[in-house]
Amino acid sequence: MLDLLWSGLVNVAQWKYLLPLFAGTFIGVIGGSLPGVTITMTVIVVLPFTYGLDPLAGLAAMTGVYVGGSTGGLIACCLLGIPGSPASIATTFDGFPMARNGEPGRAIWLGVWASVWGGLLGALFLVFLTGPLAAIALEFGPWEYFSLFVLAMAMVAGLAEASLLKGLISTAIGLLITVIGHDPIGSVPRFTFGSGFIGGGFPFLPVLIGIFAFAQIMTDLEKLNLPGGQATPSLAGIKLERFSHLKVNLEIFRQPFQLAWATIVGLIIGILPAIGGSASSVMAYDQAKKFSKTPERFGKGHPEGIIASEASNNANVSGSLMTIMAFGIPGDAVTAVMLGAMTIHGIQSGPLFISQNPDIAYGIYAAYILAHPCMLLICLALMPLMLRVTSVRMAVLAPVVLVLCIVGAYALNNTMQSVYVLLLFGVVGYGLVKLGFPLAPLILGLILGDQIEINLVRAIMTDANPWLFLTRPISGGLLLAAAGSVALAVWQHLRHQNRVAEETPDF
């Protein structure tokens, strides 16, 4: 196996593969860093080129996009407070506060290095354990998925900052948003009040960007052009600090367990189809907070938060590569496009793929591994430029970022509907922030809402026996963990409340 991997690495290190890989990674980093431009959109851009190329060259380019995109998202998170791609949502929670505290360089590099280490750690699993790990995905029936999502919801309790109750309401609002529109089973219109606009439903991406972008930009505008003019909107005027790569890496490896655990969370979520990087980022963040010695510092620029989120979303990529390698089943839109590219070249996907096409399979592994140093190089080259964003005036930054968000929402489905949804949830998101409702639980509700319902109904349709949720071992274990998670969160919350006196909200 090692010799196969070695020959794969040597193979991909040729210019004809390295160049597409590098180009793909570059496009991925750029696409990922622009809010509204998704990794899916970026990978589709690469698709036409792959028709003419040697299949491995095309697949290497796509792998590069995937890895680069999963990392690029953190740039917008740290510098704008808006996730560049859904997979880096949780990086916003600590990356942006850290940047605002005057350390944008540290925030970004913590993220980039955590991505590299998380991704490479994920590569170990990818190369050596693809078979057995992918087999886990098959064990997950609707019961297991449902219980997993209940566990994820239970984690929300850990993400609520000031008020547990408001966190729960936020979750419910997130879930409610996914319920509106046509139901996912029989397409019955729900709560549409006869409106075609509502009937179209509220897709995840425009809601996410709307909530984050407007909540961020509008709260910044509140402080703009005031007569006193004391507040600094955005990051404008913050002087770039000196940071050292060595220090950042030491910070990451000071807690090897946190890094490993975030990686594993990302990996598992990646293996399970239809969940995706956004959930792994939020869940790893929550796990880091639970295991941290200093949970109260999360949300205020804590390095552990950035590390967890970024390590997990890159590991998530290796997880979703596993299922297409092992079974030819795509877990998300990006791997679906990769699979399409394989089909076009006549490569039969499925369980025999690795043994029948070892050169391509190990080529993909090698591309995945080599994408990480490429990504690091690209970030090194781009970062001085990217950090310049911090010196742009709010009056210029706000319109440009908003145009990007709006185009991104439009491009998702090529319809104005998504743009209207963006604006609607921009207003809603701003309102919720002003009323002190935390956004993180809402986002998790939004990510999982659909899937919870679909799997619950599927389970009931397959077998009417409700006890199966408890008696199936994986499902029962997950529900047990959910109960434990709630207990732990409540305990941490009480301890935290005793420690700090109640702060008056900044309003």
Binding site: V45, I169, A172, V179, F191, E222, K223, A464, D506
Partner: protein, 159 residues
């Protein structure tokens, strides 16, 4: 006992969840699916209603410091600007399918920039125009040429 901001938010959310809860029971069900389309929403809405009611209760029971001698004044906020910005974004989105992406974007970027910081000199006006044009052009070229996204054409302008 007086009601605060949380209480009002809770009441609004409670009202919404109750209305939708009633609606969820009226949804038609399919013969082939054992639980109707209202089954899951009802669970979510019941949960939301309960949590909202608790929030109202919590707010009503909260002891409020009765008019402390001018508590530290809240920092001033420029809400006017927020409203203007929302209005400009709304206008942009409304004009997008009418004027087409390129025209609407140049107008939007120009207008919002001017609203956030009114240019004083000819040079500043030029910079503003250049940024507006640049954003429109670059985003158009990048998305249309490289990302293969056909941006909205104007119904009025055909452009």
């Amino acid at each position: 006992m007086s009601i605060g901001r949380d209480g009002i938010a809770g009441l609004v959310l409670l009202a919404i969840s109750l209305v939708l809860l009633v609606k969820s029971f009226q949804l038609p069900s399919l013969a082939i699916v054992p639980v109707g389309p209202g089954f899951y929403p009802a669970i979510v809405l019941a949960f939301m209603a309960a949590a909202s009611a608790l929030l109202v209760l919590q707010d009503l029971l909260k002891r409020r410091p009765t008019a402390v001698a001018d508590a530290p004044a809240a920092p001033p906020r420029n809400y006017r600007l927020v409203v203007i910005a929302f209005a400009i974004v709304g206008g942009y989105i409304a004009l997008l399918p009418l004027l087409g992406f390129r025209l609407a974007t140049v107008l939007f970027v120009g207008t919002l920039q001017a609203a956030l910081g009114w240019p004083q000199t000819a040079r500043q006006w030029l910079v503003l125009a250049a940024i507006a044009l640049g954003t429109g052009l670059v985003s158009y070229v990048v998305f249309e040429r490289y990302l293969m996204v056909l941006l909205p054409r104007g119904a009025w302008t055909g452009f």
